[in-house]
C-alpha cells in the first residue's frame, strides 16, 4: 500500500526531516505530526530533504503552509532541498518558490542557517 516514511536527523542545530515515498492526503498527517513534534520541542531551524520523495499532491503542500507561520514566528525557517524535477514542478505551479527557499543539496540548505557544514 501507500509507501511513505519520515526520517529525522540532527546536523548541528538544524533538524533534517527526510521524507520518502508518496505524500498525499493519506500520508500528509504523518508528515505533519513529525513537523508539529519538532515545533513543540522548540526546534525552529528545519530542512526538509525531498531526495526520496516520488510524489506530492496539494495535501502535502498544505502541510508546509500549515507550519511555516509558527516556525518563522519563532525566528526559524523551513528550507526545502533535493526535490526531484517532477516534485519541484508541483511546488512551482503553486508559486511556492517565492515564499520558501529551495536548495539542490542538504549542505547548502543548512549553510543558510549559518551553521558550519
Amino acid at each position: 500500500m501507500e509507501r511513505f516514511e519520515v526520517f529525522l536527523k540532527d546536523r548541528e542545530s538544524v533538524k533534517i526531516l527526510n521524507i520518502q515515498g508518496f505524500l498525499d492526503a493519506h500520508t500528509a498527517p504523518d508528515f505533519e505530526s513529525e513537523l508539529q513534534k519538532l515545533i513543540r520541542e522548540k526546534n525552529y531551524n528545519i530542512v526538509v530533504n525531498l531526495d526520496g520523495l516520488q510524489y506530492i499532491s496539494s495535501a502535502g503542500l498544505g502541510v508546509f503552509m500549515g507550519v511555516i507561520e509558527d516556525i518563522r514566528g519563532n525566528g526559524g525557517d523551513l528550507k526545502i532541498c533535493c526535490a526531484a524535477p517532477k516534485v519541484f514542478k508541483v511546488f512551482d505551479l503553486l508559486g511556492f518558490p517565492s515564499l520558501y527557499e529551495f536548495f539542490d543539496s542538504e549542505d547548502s540548505a543548512i549553510k543558510k542557517f549559518n551553521v558550519k557544514v
Partner: protein, 148 residues
C-alpha cells in the same frame, strides 16, 4: 482501422488509502495511450486532487452507509476523459475562483489548492453538480496538446 472508444471504471469506498489505487488506475490507462511521463504525472495529480476533494468534502460525516467514489475513464483516439463521481452534497462551481496564488500563499491559507491545480494540469475541466444525486468533475487531456 478505426479505433474504438474504451471505458474503464472503478468504484471505491471514500478513504484516503484508496488514492494510490486511483492514481495507479488512471496512470496505467494513460500510459497505454502513449502519454508522456510528464503528462501521466499531470493526469495522476489532477485525478488525485479531484478524488481528495470528494473524500474530504463531499459527504457529511455520519455513521450511515458506506460512501463511494467512482472513477470513469473513457479513452478516445485524440483524448483521455476522466470523470470523478460522487453522490455527496456537491458544491457550486460558480464559486470556484482562480486564486491569486501569491496573495493566497502570503496569507498562508491552506487547502483549496486542488481545484486550481486541476485547472492548471488538465486541458478541459467541467462540473456537473446534482447535490445528493450525482456530482461529476470531468477532466480531459488531449494526446497532442501540452497546455499549462
Amino acid at each position: 482501422m478505426k479505433r474504438k472508444n474504451k471505458k474503464f471504471q472503478i468504484k471505491l469506498p471514500i478513504e484516503t488509502v484508496n488514492l494510490e489505487i486511483i492514481r495507479d488506475f488512471v496512470a496505467h490507462i494513460a500510459q497505454n495511450m502513449g502519454f508522456s511521463e510528464e503528462n501521466i504525472h499531470r493526469i495522476e495529480l489532477a485525478v488525485d486532487e479531484a478524488s481528495t476533494n470528494v473524500i474530504k468534502h463531499a459527504y457529511k460525516p455520519t455513521n450511515g452507509n458506506q460512501k463511494f467514489i467512482s472513477i470513469q475513464v473513457t479513452t478516445y483516439p485524440d483524448r483521455l476523459q476522466i470523470d470523478v463521481i460522487d453522490s455527496g452534497k456537491g458544491f457550486d462551481p460558480k464559486k470556484i475562483k482562480t486564486p491569486a496564488m501569491d496573495l493566497y500563499l502570503k496569507k498562508m491559507k491552506r487547502g483549496g489548492l486542488g481545484l486550481y491545480l486541476i485547472k492548471t494540469l488538465m486541458d478541459e475541466v467541467e462540473y456537473e453538480i446534482r447535490p445528493g444525486i450525482r456530482n461529476k468533475v470531468r477532466m480531459i487531456k488531449y494526446r497532442n496538446q501540452n497546455v499549462g
